[in-house]
């Protein structure tokens, strides 16, 4: 059991899992890892019917659609004490940009602000709010960690994943040169400006390979898919996973982009 320093109220905290559309569609195991971490820390996890945080529309300039989706999301999570997402960019959207969306509309702004105040990225929620200091997972091997931009710069997620990874038995975190440099995903940017995105991710994969670590972790599936996709196109054997999977000790699933074979589980728990 991870250490929980204190849970002041006896009733379990109701956490709404904002699973994120990428995790929902592409890699549900991250969602289950998030659930395990939250339940181990004493939360009751709910998964309201949900779709997307609205970021694709927001970053494409379609404010009207974004506001519709935002209002839908806020309503869906109404009766949760907290809203937790295994993604810095989605959590950033909920916590930082929802209030901006409704800045000129007093009642909606009030709702958005109240909602934003309870939204968190997963790992920072565990450490900063639930006061989790360690996890009981094992993971043998060297791991490189990439700081996804939104989590790092919008939400200050930096020390928390490193702290929890340090508590994973057998895991050795190696320095990744340029860990805080963008991987080139940027949502639709990766497709709209594919050639530039490719140049940026190529710098990133060069650093990943140079680190020598056989496993790459990060907190955002978009970044992870981008980096995994490039690594695999380059023929690299580096395994790519979401940090939640390792922290929850749930690495039986093949790594991102890897087929379901016995040898795909390099660095699996002992």
């Amino acid at each position: 059991m991870p250490d929980v320093v204190e849970n002041p109220s006896r009733a379990p905290i109701r956490v709404g899992l904002f699973v994120t559309c990428l995790v929902d569609l592409m890699r549900p195991s991250i969602g289950f890892a998030a659930v395990k971490l939250l339940e181990d820390a004493g939360c009751r996890v709910h998964v309201p019917s949900q779709t997307c945080c609205g970021q694709p529309a927001y970053n494409s300039g379609d404010r009207a659609t974004t506001k519709e989706i935002a209002r839908q999301t806020i309503a869906a999570f109404e009766d949760c004490d907290y809203v937790v997402a295994p993604s810095g960019s989605c959590a950033g959207m909920l916590a930082k940009h929802y209030p901006e969306l409704f800045a000129g509309e007093p009642e909606l702004a009030r709702q958005a602000n109240a909602f934003a105040a309870k939204c968190f990225e997963l790992v920072s929620f565990l450490v900063d709010v639930l006061k989790v200091t360690k996890v009981s997972a094992h993971f043998a091997g060297q791991v490189a960690y990439h700081d996804s931009c939104s989590g790092l710069r919008e939400l200050g997620v930096f020390s928390q994943p490193r702290q929890l990874l340090a508590s994973v038995e057998g895991l050795q975190l190696v320095e990744l040169n340029g860990a805080d440099v963008c991987c080139g995903f940027g949502g639709t940017f990766a497709v709209k400006y594919g050639e530039i995105s490719d140049a940026i991710v190529a710098q990133k994969t060069a650093n990943i390979v140079a680190s020598g670590a056989p496993t790459l972790l990060a907190g955002d599936l978009g970044c992870l898919m981008n980096m995994a996709g490039k690594l695999q196109r380059q023929g690299s054997q580096v395994n790519v996973r979401h940090v939640a999977e390792v922290l929850a000790g749930m690495t039986a699933e093949p790594a991102i982009g890897a087929p379901r074979t016995a040898s795909s589980n390099a660095g699996a728990p002992n």
Partner: protein
């Protein structure tokens, strides 16, 4: 020159330009690491950023009054103030000042405003010789290129290219001279330009700041070229945009403390020069005339609007130094006087979003620019504002509108979304499960052209959760 509307094609050329890619590698060690070290040495740096931002915001909110105060002080010190509404007005004022004085040679300190208004081309067309004196500007002037960075104009070049340019341009020097090292190139440029400094009729500089309290213009250089440009000729012309005004010397100090550190990692540039009016009676040197041209060119319309914060910019270049897109393609690809993140925000204001709209689109919103901006300009937010403008005016490409529309249709209907995504992901999983990923996939060509696409795990999280718990929620 490449234009902003061809950014994508420009970027393509830049990515395949080997000498450029080699030159861009210098950006990291030299700009990023040096800035980080300078910031680490000054514990008050972050607080100074807040102070700098507040000074700019206050000044912009009262710009009309500070302009009046500034002008009065310039005149009191014996200088003249000219107002230019448009770029062409700015050019016309300079041309008139030159013609009225029979000026034939004009030395120039580095000025982005002069670039913005196309001053050199206008001077040349009028039979007046503009001589760039900043080493980087001198080099690109020889090449007929625009600057690729607002602080380091020749950052895209290698020393071999510069040596070639010097050989081609400095024909009177011995052919067999050694120009293999930067120090030799610098020495040669120093000698050539020294004569030009001494014989120029008029010197034109920009201004980093204009101080209302004293009617002073401040320039910040490392070479000393801006100083030789302004003290040797009979006439000193300062060309600056409206938002360069700061209220007092003390206010300027706050901004100076963050400027050089953000730009080059120096605590102070070698020469921070405060110029006020022409020479005084009894002065043995200095210009006899001092003119300040204040350029609007769209700034006054930015006030009070979504892009007002862009007027805080103090032209340090930190944003572009830290931008992954700038790092990948360099400055020329932007096709604008102002590249990088600050260029992506400012350019559509200057040339219109129809022409300049690609620039704010070519961003991952990684936020590093805002994180290093000494005056805390919310650059990604403003790039997003431009995207909103484009969307409202139907300037976004059809693929974007339809793509967002298609996705939004489902995102607004959770039950339908869950149903269709579950079916689609299970099908895709079956299709891709042998390899675990797709090297190619219909409709995903934009992605798979450069990277593999991981295959989904099958049933969606929400469908599995519902199956596990018997209900959704």
């Amino acid at each position: 020159m490449a234009t902003a509307s061809h950014f994508k094609e420009n970027a393509h050329a830049a990515l395949h330009d080997a000498p450029l890619q080699k030159a861009l590698q210098h950006v990291r060690a030299n700009f990023i690491d040096k800035r980080a070290k300078a910031v680490a040495r000054l514990p008050e740096f972050d607080a100074l950023r807040d102070s700098a931002r507040d000074i700019k915001d206050h000044t912009l909110a009262n710009l009309d009054l500070y302009l009046e105060a500034y002008e009065a002080k310039v005149v009191e010190a014996g200088g003249q103030v000219h107002y230019a509404v448009t770029a062409k007005d700015g050019v016309d004022i300079v041309l008139k000042l030159c013609r009225d004085r029979g000026a034939k040679a004009v030395t120039k300190g580095k000025s982005m405003i002069a670039e913005e208004i196309g001053l050199n081309a206008a001077l040349e067309a009028a039979g007046i010789d503009p001589i760039e004196t900043d080493l980087g500007e001198y080099i690109i002037q020889l090449r007929g290129e625009p600057p690729s960075h607002i602080i380091a104009p020749a950052v895209h070049l290698n020393k071999e290219q510069v040596a070639e340019d010097f050989r081609r341009a400095h024909r009177d020097l011995p052919r067999d001279r050694d120009l293999s090292q930067p120090v030799q190139l610098l020495t040669e440029a120093r000698g050539i330009l020294r004569d030009k400094f001494l014989s120029a009729d008029i010197g034109v500089t920009g201004a980093n700041f204009l101080i209302a309290e004293t009617g002073t213009s401040i320039i910040v250089t490392n070479e000393g070229n801006g100083d030789l440009t302004q003290i040797l000729p009979k006439v000193h012309i300062v060309i600056a945009s409206l938002e360069k005004i700061v209220p007092t010397l003390e206010d300027a100090s706050q901004l100076l403390r963050v400027l050089a550190r953000s730009a080059t990692g120096q605590d102070m540039s070698v020469y921070t020069t405060l110029s006020t009016g022409p020479r005084r009676p009894g002065d043995p040197d200095g210009p006899e005339e001092y003119h300040v041209i204040l350029l609007d060119n769209g700034r006054s319309s930015m006030l009070g609007g979504d892009f007002e914060d862009m007027l805080r910019c103090i032209r340090c270049g930190a944003c572009m130094n830290h931008c992954p897109i700038y790092r990948a393609v360099g400055g020329h690809a932007y096709g604008s006087v102002y590249p990088g993140p600050m260029g992506a925000v400012l350019t559509p204001s200057l040339i219109g979003v129809e022409e300049g709209g690609q620039l704010p689109n070519a961003s991952t919103f990684c936020g590093r620019c805002e994180a290093v901006c000494p005056v805390r300009i919310p650059l990604p937010n403003m790039m997003r504002h431009w995207r909103e403008r484009e969307f409202e005016r139907h300037l976004s490409p059809a693929s974007v509108r339809y793509g967002i529309g298609f996705w939004a249709f489902f995102a607004k209907r959770p039950a339908l979304y869950r149903l269709t995504t579950n079916i689609a992901m299970r099908a895709l999983h079956l299709l891709g499960r042998a390899k675990g990923r797709f090297a190619s996939l219909p409709f995903a060509g934009g992605w798979t052209r450069y990277r593999d696409l991981p295959a989904p795990q099958g049933a969606t999280f929400q469908s599995r959760w519902r199956a596990k718990s018997g209900r959704l929620n």
